[in-house]
Amino acid sequence: MRWFWIDRFTEFVCGSHATAVKGVSLSEDHMHEHMVGYPIMPNSLVTEGMAQAGGLLVSEQYGFGELVVLGKLAKAKFHSCVRNGETLTYHVKVDSVRESGAAVTATAHVGERLHAEALLFFARLGEETDPLDGARLFRPRDLQHWLSLVGVFEVGVKADGSPMQESDYPLEENVASS
């Protein structure tokens, strides 16, 4: 299993909100294992979809250059079952960004049907609190790859509505030492 729980952003507004979609398919191994006989998308992975969409939105606020991880899932509530052939649409909104971390509220819909609601907190691992001892999560090139796979720079706009520029961030082409 790969760890890509959003297929594509359809909207990405820096510092504000984003929308991403995820197609649920029988070609995914876990669909055959979760409830054998009645495939449904595991709600833990729906949560990951909301966390990935929200995490990238938060990470942008810290310039895509820092360690941002899911620190707390304050609340997640699920209202239905998501089945193969359905498409999840995640809406995430950055509610507050602080020095130590950020709050994101998220929903997941299938068409008009509300499937999930969540409140997530992301921790920013600064120098003093960094348990990784200087390690990082991604090489800039790997992060750039992910951002490009999910279309961040294709649909992304800055707060003022102008298109996001890849060159504004410390990604591979802009980092000499990587």
Partner: protein, 128 residues
Amino acid sequence: MATEDEIFDKVREALVDALGVDDDEVTAEATLQGDLDAESIDFLDIVFRLEKAFDIKIERGELFPEDILTDTEFVQDGKVNEAGIAKLKERMPFADLAKFEAEPIVQNLGQQLTVKDMCNFVAHKLAA
């Protein structure tokens, strides 16, 4: 203007939701870190909920003046000096610092923060 009871009820609700504790665990005397197991990530959550519940804006360091606790002007050998205590009292008029003053070890400040202090903080913010 919210009464003391109204403030306490909303603070309790915020703590119950943020910390996953039961209603009756949230007493006025309960300490956030000691009794209710609040960790640093929880303070993000608590502050977020208080801002919503009371329609207030809480800036960094307002509830917990970490800048003073990391300032060598106010802290020596892990203890807050007199100037630091004076500064804390100025910044935290809502908290009862008598116990902290007796043994002003930096870590104690966070550990001694009670639900009551939290309510007083909100009342202080609402009055401002």
